[in-house]
């Protein structure tokens, strides 16, 4: 069975080394085609389809399999990923080459291979007795690999012929290399270029657009003029970086000015940390987030960052002269001190291209197939793509990938990947904001779903091992209305000795998600459930999130319980953790629970339990606030949705009831208890959450703002801050307290997950707790699942696994979770912003009262309490005469003409939707009161005559 083949592998420079490796050739590797008698006994089951009929190709009408070469795989992965392309043989030679050349493509091809519907088969040709090829003398490894691929293709064709003569199965070799193709045809292998093949697919014309255009043909002929200087090869760059002539850094394009960018230099050197690049030629085809090598320019060519806003609007690509003119605008006279280190890009170390969302700007020429694509992110340059469906893609959000950026082209070349849908359409926009915030939102794959429990599911004997039966307890859950993923439930009862027993029961998600399987990996990748205004992107499949794990009423559910014994002063006498089975007696909303507590007529066991909890919660809260926990505020809004169209009809700021804080209080208590326990047990690798104290400078704005209202805010400790915030109470200005708390929230740092072995500061500033973690929401946060596992090991209810006790792996996980949480937050905010726009679109123009939150040099930031909406009122506009603005940083205040604005001043603003830029619609605010001639708009909304007639007309047309 084993044929041993010893061969010389390679020699390495610097002390010649002879490496001898064994290479076994086998005769038991199957071809992957079903019904093949010769490989019937091969190990894996058949993967390819027996009669691959579609896609119908005019070039090869018989059923066939595809066999692409390395470059096709690398560049045309978008095509191969299309569901129309099936039955592809991926050779091991090809896969290894892809692996060495591009990790992302390698990952994608592996995903495709794992998808059973795609019928991709990996053939281990290098170890097959008949397809192994030895490198010949004078042949380089690329040529050898090409030959190996051809040999395998030839073998396949002969092999399939042997299998059955009548059904004429063929293997078609796909290569874009002309020489390779010629050789293949010479050897009798049917071969086509990718383009030829895709074009021959009569049933799927849309695939052509997904072809990546490669610069070697066509494009070069057209504009022979070289715009950019050549990128240096990597070896030269590395040499240069070592010797210090070049600097390595991350390229960050400017949002405001497409001709300017900065490079953050990696390393610890203080000087030259940030290098400015200006002008197209100096940017030299670098794209946002690429890792580049930069050369510093001589000091006499240094520039200052310009404050000009420049957007790339040119349609014609050959206007390089015009560009130069615009570049000259940047170089306005500046004083010497403003000059910053300036450089130019000499080479790209690593491209960080990803697919970009955006819109097509159709070419002026009607018949043209080349169009420019404008990404939503202003830091990404426009991309030239080739498509025939320009007219259908116009006005839609699309995704485009960059293929390359030749030296003679003003814009990078790319290809169309996907059509997301109509601009302004709710689903499209949601998709865009999910993509732009990198929120994984694809439906769960088959592999992931295969790890779900089979339905109908019931609790078995095995589940009851290490589990306590708490079904007799009177447990209930309290959640916001419409909540389907209930992850916590509570109970409280009086014990015989007069003390109280309080239990927090959390859904036992870790029972269903076992470490290391596909379901676990997917949840870890998603990190958190993302709540958008009308949509929820689940972290775990719906069967778990809304059914098996959700602690619904009157069904048996598995839970992880944290049970305290407390006296009536809410002092904890005993803490106990156990896995359990519960049966919730009621799932209440906050309002229902509040009603039960308040109404004297209700006296059933659920109500008494709630009253007990409420009483204890109040004591706990008081104690927590005494310790210096902060009560902060942020304007949160809820949309009332139309049940039919799902359009927002009304905005409402969230209401807080006593019961909200009751649930919150016990969740905090459970989290703290669990944090203590897991840290005690796993001092090196407990997953905790910390909230660092903000540096004093963060509070500056808050202190200054309070001073302007003759208030003193102390910020030495959290306690002092909380006290001074509580003392703020103005009878004439009741909203002031909330405003101050909103401001205080802005001063805070981000709370983050971390691994206890990698850090020594555990303090949670906002909650004034020395230690904290997340335990109570495992359905929607992955961190809680890890904490559950740690706790389960600590109490001996479950076994451990290697990754759990590896602090580096845990630290990596924390990094991902923190990133996902941040992104989820941004996505939520973006979703709220979008819905606010929809709301004001239907509502038209309204005037509302607002408070000034910040004062800036040329604008004020206001908050409209009614909508919880924050916006900026600009006082400088493009085509209007500039008003007299005097900004005072100390107070802070802004004087416009004769009116002075202070923080917290009450103003009246007009809100309207600005859709002049279709891709970036935004809410616009204009000042109504106090009136400043020439700046504010008239109070009366009905007769807007002179201020902005054009905009109004636009509105009416809609």
């Amino acid at each position: 069975m084993l044929k041993s083949k010893t061969f010389l592998k390679k020699t390495r420079a610097g002390g010649v080394m002879k490496i001898v490796r064994e290479h076994y050739l086998r005769d038991d590797i199957g071809c992957g085609a079903p019904g093949c008698a010769a490989c019937g006994g091969a190990h894996e089951g058949p993967v390819l389809e027996p009669q691959p009929l579609d896609p119908a190709s005019s070039l090869c009408p018989q059923p066939h399999y595809l066999l692409p070469d390395t470059n096709v795989l690398l560049h045309q992965i978008d095509v191969l990923e299309d569901p129309a392309i099936r039955n592809v043989i991926v050779l091991q030679t090809v896969l290894q080459e892809v692996r060495n050349r591009s990790a992302p493509v390698y990952k994608r091809i592996r995903d495709v291979t794992n998808n059973q519907e795609k019928h991709f088969y990996t053939f281990t040709n290098e170890h097959h007795r008949e397809t192994y090829v030895e490198q010949q003398q004078g042949e380089n490894s690329n040529d050898r690999n090409d030959r190996a691929i051809r040999v395998a293709a030839k073998w396949y064709n002969e092999h399939l012929k042997k299998m059955s003569a009548e059904n004429q199965l063929q293997v078609i070799f796909i290569t874009n290399d002309r020489k390779n193709k010629e050789k293949a045809i010479e050897e009798g292998i049917p071969a086509f270029t990718c383009e030829e093949y895709v074009k021959s697919l009569t049933a799927n014309p849309e695939l052509i657009d997904r072809l990546a255009c490669l610069s070697d043909e066509g494009n070069e002929i057209e504009s022979g003029k070289v715009i950019f200087s050549e990128h240096l090869p990597l070896s030269k760059l590395q040499q240069g970086i070592k010797s210090g002539t070049y600097l390595q850094g991350t390229f960050r394009a400017s949002r405001e000015n497409y001709l300017e960018a900065t490079v953050w230099v990696h390393g610890d050197t203080e000087e030259n940390k940030e290098i400015i690049l200006q002008g197209l030629k100096n940017l030299n085809r670098a794209v946002h987030e690429d890792i580049v090598a930069v050369e510093l320019l001589p000091k006499n060519q240094w520039v200052a960052p310009s404050s000009v806003v420049l957007h790339d609007e040119g349609q014609n690509e050959d206007d390089v002269e015009k560009e130069e003119e615009r570049e000259r605008i940047l170089k306005t006279a500046v004083n010497e001190k403003m000059l910053k280190p300036t450089g130019r890009v000499v080479g790209i170390i690593k491209r960080n291209w990803r697919p970009y969302c955006g819109m097509l700007s159709k070419s002026d020429i009607k018949e043209s197939r080349r169009h420019l694509f404008t990404p939503a992110d202003k830091r990404i340059p426009r991309i030239r793509i080739e498509t025939r469906q320009a007219s259908t893609l116009e006005g839609r959000r699309i995704i485009v990938s960059i293929d390359g950026w030749p030296r003679n082209s003003r814009y990078p070349n790319g290809h169309f990947v996907k059509n997301l849908g109509e601009v302004g359409d709710k689903e499209t926009e949601t998709e865009v904001l999910l993509l732009e915030h990198d929120v994984p939102h694809q439906p769960f794959s088959q592999a992931v779903l295969s790890f779900l429990p089979k339905m109908p599911w019931s609790i078995t004997e095995k589940d009851m091992k290490n589990r306590e039966d708490l079904r007799h307890l009177c447990v209930c859950s309290v959640d916001p209305p419409g909540c389907t993923d209930i992850d916590d439930a509570l109970h409280c009862r009086e014990l015989e000795n007069g003390d109280l027993e309080v239990g927090v029961h959390i859904a036992d998600v870790s029972h269903f998600i076992r470490p290391g399987n596909a379901l676990d990996q997917e949840s870890a990748r998603r990190g958190t459930t993302v709540y958008l205004c009308e949509k929820r992107i689940d972290m775990v499949p719906e069967l778990l999130s809304s059914n098996l794990c959700s602690l619904r009423s009157n069904v048996d559910r598995l839970a992880f319980s944290c049970i305290w014994e407390m006296n009536h002063n809410a002092e904890i006498l005993k803490t106990r953790f156990t896995k359990s089975v519960i049966n919730s007696k009621a799932s209440l909303t906050y309002a229902e629970a509040q009603m039960r507590i308040d109404s004297a007529a209700m006296n059933d066991s659920i109500t008494t339990s709630l009253r007990g909890l409420n009483k204890l919660a109040k004591i706990l809260k008081k104690r927590r606030i005494e310790k210096g926990a902060l009560t902060l505020s942020s304007p949160e809004v809820r949309f009332h949705m139309d049940s039919e169209t799902h359009d927002p009809i009304d905005l409402q700021t969230k209401e807080l009831r006593e019961t909200n804080s009751m649930v919150e209080e016990f969740m905090l208590l459970a989290n703290i208890s669990v944090a203590k326990k897991i840290h005690e047990e796993f001092s090196e690798h407990a997953l905790l959450r910390k909230h660092p104290a903000p540096p004093p400078s963060n509070y500056e704005i808050l202190v200054k703002a309070a001073k302007s209202k003759n208030l003193e805010i102390k910020t030495d400790t959290a306690k002092a801050l909380a006290d001074s915030l509580d003392r703020v109470d103005s009878p004439i200005f009741p909203y002031l307290n909330t405003l101050l708390r909103i401001l205080a929230t802005r001063c805070m740092m981000q709370a983050v997950y971390f691994c206890s072995g990698m850090d020594n500061d555990f303090h949670h500033y906002g909650l004034a707790s020395p230690i904290y973690t997340h335990f109570t929401s495992p359905i929607r946060r992955y961190a809680d699942i890890i904490v559950h596992r740690l706790l389960a090991v600590a109490i001996g209810a479950d076994c451990t696994y290697p990754e759990l006790t590896d602090k580096h792996k845990l630290a990596d996980l924390c990094k991902n979770l923190n990133f996902r949480h941040k992104m989820a937050q941004y996505a939520q905010r973006a979703s709220v912003a979008f819905h606010t726009q929809l709301f004001f679109k239907s509502k038209g123009i309204v005037s509302e009262e607002a408070y000034i939150l910040f004062v800036r040099k040329n604008a004020i930031v206001v908050l409209i309490p009614k909508y919880g909406l924050e916006g900026t009122v600009f006082f400088e506009e493009k085509d209007k005469p500039k008003p007299r603005l005097i900004y005072d940083d100390e107070v802070p205040s802004l004087k416009i003409e004769d009116t002075v604005f202070h923080i917290f001043d009450k103003v009246k603003v007009r809100i309207m939707l600005d859709s002049s830029n279709l891709q970036h619609q935004k809410i616009r605010m204009l000042l109504v009161e106090p009136q400043i001639p020439g700046i504010s708009v008239p109070t009366d909304t009905s007769n807007m005559d002179n201020s902005e007639p054009e905009r109004k007309k636009k509105k009416l047309q809609k």
Binding site: L2, S4, T6, G15, M17, K18, I19, V20, R21, E22, H23, Y24, L25, R26, H43, E44, Q92, Q96, R99, N100, A103, Y106, R110, T113, T122, T124, E126, H127, G516, C799, T800, Y801, P802
Partner: protein, 245 residues
């Protein structure tokens, strides 16, 4: 450049073997005339030579003699040309001392030492080419040499290494796989009784996986036994034919 993929999705290792497959083993006994017993083994590219002298009188200091059993003296050395880089290895460095001790431990468990009290058995092993699984090759070749010397033993001592990659146990690691730095287990087994003569592990391996890796190593050691048994029988057959003439 991505690192080496030790186990492909299709279940093949770098050299084309499956996870539990051994490398090709070739062995010969009685390669030297002047020694009491000698053997040569090739396990893939790992090549080792062993010679056995004894049992004989204690050499050197008499005080080392044991009253109730024979002293097993094992020495390990490796040729300068055995690895990719040429390197002089002085006699008695840490690695060879440790290897000698481990060999001694395994063979004291297998040789019926109580039959030869106050005497000495010398086992010298030299590695000519190293390509992973050095300890295993040394044990296997020494077993053949001891058998060749006709020293009574309880059983063969068969050894094999095993590693752990991506949730799968790999048997008989090659140098490439060892160099990747994963956990690595060396097991010397008395196959008939299933007793373990020596077990050594490098790097960290989670408790839960130990059983799987141990099972892989044990199965591989039993496979080695089948091969060695065949070699011994063939050797004896050839010898008897020669004697018969």
């Amino acid at each position: 450049m991505a690192g080496l993929e030790l186990l492909s999705d299709q279940g093949y290792r770098v050299d084309g073997r499956r996870a539990r497959e051994l490398r090709k083993i070739q062995a010969r006994m009685g390669v030297f005339a002047q020694a009491d017993g000698s053997a040569y083994i090739e396990q893939g590219n790992t090549k080792a030579l062993a010679v056995v002298y004894g049992p004989h009188e204690i050499r050197g200091s008499r005080s080392r003699a044991l009253p109730d059993r024979a002293l097993v003296n094992c020495q390990y050395s490796s040729a300068t040309f055995s690895t990719g880089e040429r390197k002089r290895r002085p006699h008695g460095d840490r690695k060879s001392c440790e290897m000698g001790l481990q060999l001694r431990q395994a063979f004291e468990a297998a040789i019926l030492t109580q039959l030869h009290p106050r005497s000495q058995i010398d086992i010298y092993v030299q590695v000519l080419q190293a390509d992973g699984g050095i300890y295993a090759a040394c044990v296997n070749v020494a077993t053949l040499a001891v058998l060749d010397a006709g020293i009574p033993m309880r059983d063969f001592v068969c050894a094999c290494s095993a590693g752990f990659v991506d949730g799968t146990a790999l048997a008989d690691l090659s140098h490439v796989e060892e160099a990747a730095g994963g956990p690595q287990l060396a097991l010397a087994l008395l196959p008939a009784s299933g007793q373990i003569a020596l077990l050594e592990m490098d790097a960290r391996l989670h408790e839960d996986h130990l059983e799987q890796v141990l099972e892989a190593a044990a199965q591989a050691a039993r496979d080695v036994h089948t091969v060695l048994d065949r070699v011994v029988r063939q050797h004896v057959q050839e010898a008897s034919i020669l004697l018969g003439d």
